[in-house]
Symmetry: C2
Subunit: 405 residues, 2 copies
């Protein structure tokens, strides 16, 4: 297949591109490299030293003999270039990772809120319009997040996108299947809720073939392909804005920084290893919907964990301390979470679960590059409201950490 990987220079996109190229697909990365610019803006860098995308593609060619093509296009700002590229290349499938993906970044300031909505909505909508316009019938796979479900406390397992409900009607109760009513908890998550409605519309009006993957928090850094050469190494975000919870704990452990738990750590979240992310994409590509089908929604996650349990596990393995910090987010202190993921299991996914060995592998990588970590960038600073910012800022550096381990 000819596959376009939008956002292929990113944390999930790069190993996905390698995985698909390794399977023999013709891979085209489209990326505006905005994430590298955001590193510059924030004055942080990937813990692992990432080469330029051009250099990475060159190394991959050397290692594998396969060519990955790179195209610098901004999906949100360069609609006509995007459309012309699609019309010219006619990919069979498009994997769409190209959005601003950090909840804390999306809440930093007015500018960051506006950027996140403008970038993500226009990127996704431009892509949908271009697919209608070019009529190329490519299968679109989009990365959403389990975060849109909003961690509701109704106590029912979270289905894969659609919820069966009963409503009262004048002629008695009637069953209906609806898009799961989302309750996004940040501007970033909100954009994924909006994406979902755009997908529903374009699938229904134009018969676009769309799969929306509601992904859990990705952890790990290596995949079989990134391991093949030092310069194929994957991005590893450890900072307060882009670092996601488990990888952050592992990096903190590697540098002897107390594990930063927000609030009680009672938040339960869904997780998936990066190796499974790339396998899931492969599986979903093989299971494309037909034109006229509703949007296929899969929960792309393999297990759920409570944040403080993860902290305790990492502390146990590494001897790190745990710091309970004021929570900069507006969210429930504690929640249960049961997420269905039958689709991928049925398609044959054999999940990589949270084994100590794999956790230690990540700690080793973090240790190797520990000299690249700026300790001042480890804590999360972005607060969800001004009131929370005020509260959190009384203890910005975590000076009054209650160490409990």
């Amino acid at each position: 297949m000819k596959i376009a990987v939008l956002g292929g220079d990113g944390f999930c996109g790069w190993p996905t591109s390698l995985h698909l190229s390794n399977l023999g697909h013709e891979v085209h990365i489209i990326d505006n490299l905005s994430r590298r610019w955001i590193d510059t803006e924030l004055g942080v860098q990937s813990l692992t030293p990432m080469d330029s995308i051009q250099e990475r593609c060159r190394i991959w060619k050397e290692v594998s003999g396969e060519q990955i093509h790179f195209h610098l296009i901004d999906l949100a700002k360069e609609y006509y270039r995007l459309r012309d590229w699609l019309a010219e290349e006619k990919p069979d499938a498009i994997v769409h990772f190209a959005e601003q993906r950090a909840a804390p970044y999306s809440m930093i300031s007015e500018r960051h809120k506006i950027y996140t909505v403008d970038n993500n909505i226009n990127a996704t909508h431009n892509l949908l319009v271009a697919l209608v316009e070019t009529d190329i019938d490519a299968h679109l796979l989009h990365l959403g997040t389990t975060g849109v479900y909003g961690y509701s406390t109704v106590g029912a397992p979270i289905p894969e996108g659609y919820l069966d409900v009963t409503i009262d009607t004048p002629t008695g109760p009637k069953g209906m299947e609806i898009l799961y009513p989302t309750k996004p908890g940040s501007v970033y998550h909100m954009t994924k809720s909006l994406d979902q409605i755009m997908f529903q519309f374009y699938a229904q009006n134009d018969g676009l073939r769309i799969t929306d993957l509601h992904q859990g928090i990705v952890w790990g850094t290596n995949t079989d392909q990134t391991k093949r050469h030092e310069q194929l190494i994957n991005r590893f975000d450890y900072d307060g804005d882009y670092g996601t919870v488990l990888n952050r704990f592992l990096a903190q452990a590697a540098i002897g920084y107390p594990l930063t738990v927000h609030g009680t750590g009672g938040q339960t979240r869904a997780f998936i290893h990066i190796q499974d992310t790339v396998r899931c994409i492969e599986l979903a590509l093989r299971d494309a919907p037909e034109s006229g089908d509703r949007v296929k929604i899969f929960n792309q996650m393999t297990e759920t964990h409570r944040v403080r349990d993860l902290a305790e596990l990492v502390a146990k393995i590494t001897g790190a301390e745990i710091a309970y910090l004021p929570n900069p987010r507006k969210e429930a202190a504690e929640n249960e979470l049961i997420v269905k993921n039958e689709h991928f299991l049925d398609l044959g996914l054999n999940p990589v679960t949270l084994q100590e060995g794999l956790l230690e592998e990540v700690v080793e990588i973090a240790k190797k590059y520990a000299h690249r970590i700026d300790r001042s960038r480890v804590p999360a600073h972005s607060a969800w409201t001004k009131e929370i910012a005020h509260r959190v800022n009384h203890d910005p550096e975590g000076k009054h950490l209650k160490s409990v381990s």
Copy 2:
């Protein structure tokens, strides 16, 4: 109160501004005049001769002694000017009409789809961010549409924004109240669905006080205030893109053009007279939610009608013919529609219903300005898909009209 009317130069916004000014409020219109530019783009004009907004404000001052202020700001493109204006003027309430509001326009081409999403989402989101940033605690009233409900065929009356559902949980069935699951039928309607989720987020995260008015199709043109001077006349769109169904029929009747019914005319829609629109805004302004409340949603409509029944009524009054044309939209040929509107009735709305006298008044106005109508702009050309466009274009001018009345 000091009230900002965003989109106050438009069809609903102008009479609302006059109405609120007449009640003694300090009214500030913010508009980028994009709708006047779109008239230029499409080569159409309001049936009624509209003066510039500055001239209209001058006449209103002469007639009423009241000042309406006008500010040229693009909500979608000039965030910082919007924010600074709000911080400086601190309005008590904001009525937000400022979006691209025509479904057919939103479907004309790739450019129009992209413009509608970019304009409407950024306009609304910028406003929300500015309210958070300035902390002015203004009550935000937004105009949505009953169109987002998607005319589903479940057979239950459409509630005011929230739906009671029962879901199965491991411990038995459980009740939940959810945002009504929208099924927008055009890019324009889609933007209103997205708005709704943005409102939910900002009410929940930042305690913004928001009322979302899901309005039916507005008909009529005069209100008590627009009648006070010829130059206060309201906009009247008759063309295939911006003209909405009942007003279009009345204008068609006035010039002896067959009433253009799409498909069987079996579509049932919700309606409201422009005089009630302005009263509803007044009522909703008095019934503001508290910070921390969920978004208040009202159905702003007073009656529902089947399109072909309206055509027959207008034909009966005026002697016009009816033309059944191929439907350029992708929608159900026939649908039932029962819409709840208890909120406004409880607040004291005494609806203006479809009386023959009022219909005739509109025909009279249309007749008076009939020389300004370009007959070639009467039919709707914008088709929902390429396939439909192909079908419709075999009869672009309605040459094979089946006249039935």
